[in-house]
């Protein structure tokens, strides 16, 4: 039964592909995969926005959007009076964004101004191609999948630059340069934080990294990387860097609406503005998917007796958990200053990630230790990350202490 549920998406896909003549089948095969990813993550994006608005509302002691219902359609014999808890809000937002006037500044570089939102959405979608969504569900299986993911992600920086420069607005350009500085700063800890997993598993293939985390101790302790000292430290560094890479609060400096008039988005309106937001959420979702795959066991079930639930549902559940966590962080923490932001990356996260790399190498060298040596392995690995963390935090803290507000 569970095996059947596992492969049912593939069965449906093959059934549809069979309907076409043989020379077209490879094309239909790929187009179908692309269409499913676009539809699924497009809808996921829509419901992420409503979840974010509702959750932020709750966190800030208000209700959030709850009015958008179903409009009265003349072809239907009845009118659904229920508001559906405002769940149709994203579709109303989409209509609003589509029908808004698209303003292009007179002096703008028209081509780049147009190309920037297109590029950023296209590149942020590329990452989904290599994520293993389930035991049998990988859109494209690559030997160097991890490298592909980061290569696809770096291209979004170019799009941000195009947006800032193409607007021919000095505030846009300045903000784009700041955004680039931030993205480049956090690219390093982001990549370094996943390298220990590559060292330990010994592959760049995301499918093999997810498979390596299978199995349980006593049937309930999963072998996820996050439950090892190096994996835990790596996961925390990854979370912080992912927040900054996807411009989420508390690192949403690239478009700090109250300070920088929305940065490189100043001259964008209507649907192009919506495309930037879409790309931001796609990037966040893809990065969360990568975090789930590398640290949270991918599509593996947390307990042996829960394995009957299909693997792709576990993946989506963990992905949704990560997204909710990111929303929660946005509702809780305050925005950083740009100097605090870059200092956090270069003085704290990069050294810690490098030390964690040594930690991962130690873990990779000692897989045979058992019995009492196993305790030694855990203790050494934990010490390798906790002691540098404490020392670094102590050393960087003096002089930065609690801020005193003279006029507040």
């Amino acid at each position: 039964m569970s095996d059947f549920l596992e492969v049912i998406p593939l069965v449906v896909r093959d059934w549809i592909v069979e309907l076409f003549p043989t020379p077209l089948q490879w094309l239909v095969h790929h187009l179908l995969t692309i269409a499913v990813i676009l539809t699924f993550f497009g809808l996921f994006f829509a419901f992420t926005t409503i979840a974010e608005r509702k959750l932020l509302g709750r966190l800030q002691n208000r209700l959030g959007p709850n009015r958008a219902g179903v409009p009265k359609l003349s072809i239907l014999p009845f009118h659904l009076k229920h508001k559906l808890w405002g769940l149709t809000q994203p579709f109303a937002d989409a209509v609003k964004a589509l029908t808004k006037e698209d303003v292009i500044p007179d002096a703008a570089d028209k081509v780049l101004h147009f190309l920037a939102p297109v590029c950023i959405v296209a590149f942020s979608l590329l990452g989904f191609a290599v994520l293993p969504f389930g035991r049998a569900l990988i859109p494209v299986e690559l030997d160097a999948a991890l490298l592909y993911f980061f290569a696809a992600g770096t291209a979004t920086e170019l799009a941000i630059f195009m947006a800032g420069w193409g607007s021919r607005n000095k505030y846009s350009l300045l903000a784009a340069m700041r955004a680039l500085a931030q993205l480049i700063s956090y690219e390093l800890p982001l990549i370094l934080s996943v390298v220990p997993a590559v060292l330990v598993v010994g592959t760049l293939s995301l499918r093999e990294i997810a498979e390596a985390q299978g199995g349980w101790i006593f049937g309930f302790l999963p072998h996820w990387h996050v439950f090892t000292p190096w994996g835990f430290a790596g996961f925390i560094i990854f979370l912080i860097a992912a927040l900054a890479e996807s411009n989420r609060s508390p690192f949403d400096l690239p478009e700090a609406e109250s300070e920088l008039i929305a940065g490189h988005l100043t001259e964008y309106s209507g649907f192009k503005y919506a495309l930037f937001f879409m790309a931001e959420y796609f990037g966040l979702t893809a990065l969360s998917g990568l975090g789930v795959t590398i640290f949270l066991g991918g599509w593996q079930a947390p307990f042996a007796f829960l394995e009957f639930i299909p693997s792709y549902l576990w993946f989506m559940l963990k992905l949704a958990g990560m997204i909710v966590f990111f929303i929660w962080v946005r509702g809780t923490l305050l925005r950083l200053r740009i100097d605090q932001l870059t200092r956090l990356s270069w003085q704290f996260l990069v050294p810690l990630a490098l030390i964690n790399l040594v930690n991962g190498a130690f873990w990779a060298l000692t897989p045979g230790w058992s019995g009492p040596m196993l305790a030694v392995r855990w203790a050494v690995s934990a010490a390798l990350i906790v002691i540098p963390f404490l020392l670094l935090a102590r050393r960087l803290n003096p002089g930065r202490g609690p801020r005193t507000y003279r006029y507040a």
Binding site: L112, A144, F150, A151, T154, A155, W165, L204
Partner: protein, 168 residues
């Protein structure tokens, strides 16, 4: 073969228009397109790892360096002058370009082309590549690493100047 022709055409078109255009930012972006085209060529040739590394390094990092350099050094106009500075420079330019072009064409024409070996290119996995880099070619990798680090430190020493007005 059609795929290779399309990739080559797009790469050449991007590279040539990068030279012809007078707008520096457009040139840089088209150059990035040419680099991406080279990555596509690697992908076509089956060198997955090299292709992604090309995108990561050139499209992701080197393009940023070039863009920052253009924006930080040019003030105001980002368009280059169209006419020659002098006839002498123009002539020198043509002589150097002709020499380089002659060398390249000579090398291409002089190298033996065997079309039959192309069909048996072995699929090298990333793991084997890593073992090769860390084993027989470890010395070269280390030398390149040291060289790049020295270059980075040198650039920092040259660029960093302690101006009192910069410090808060």
């Amino acid at each position: 073969m059609i795929a290779l022709a399309i990739i080559a055409l797009l790469t050449f078109a991007a590279a040539i228009s990068a030279f012809v255009l007078r707008n520096l930012i457009h040139s840089v972006l088209l150059l990035v397109g040419a680099w991406a085209g080279i990555a596509a060529f690697y992908l076509w040739a089956g060198a997955e790892f090299v292709a992604f590394a090309q995108v990561l390094v050139y499209v992701g990092a080197v393009s940023m360096v070039v863009l920052f350099a253009v924006l930080l050094t040019r003030q105001g106009a980002t368009t280059a002058p169209v006419e020659f500075d002098s006839l002498k420079r123009g002539v020198f330019g043509f002589v150097v370009a002709g020499g380089v072009g002659g060398l390249l064409v000579g090398a291409i024409l002089g190298s033996p082309l065997d079309v039959h070996t192309a069909a048996t290119n072995p699929a090298v996995s990333v793991k084997e590549l890593g073992h090769l880099l860390m084993g027989p070619h470890a010395a070269a990798l280390l030398i390149v690493g040291v060289l790049l680090t020295v270059a980075l430190l040198g650039a920092m020493v040259i660029a960093a100047s302690d101006k009192p007005e910069d410090t808060p």
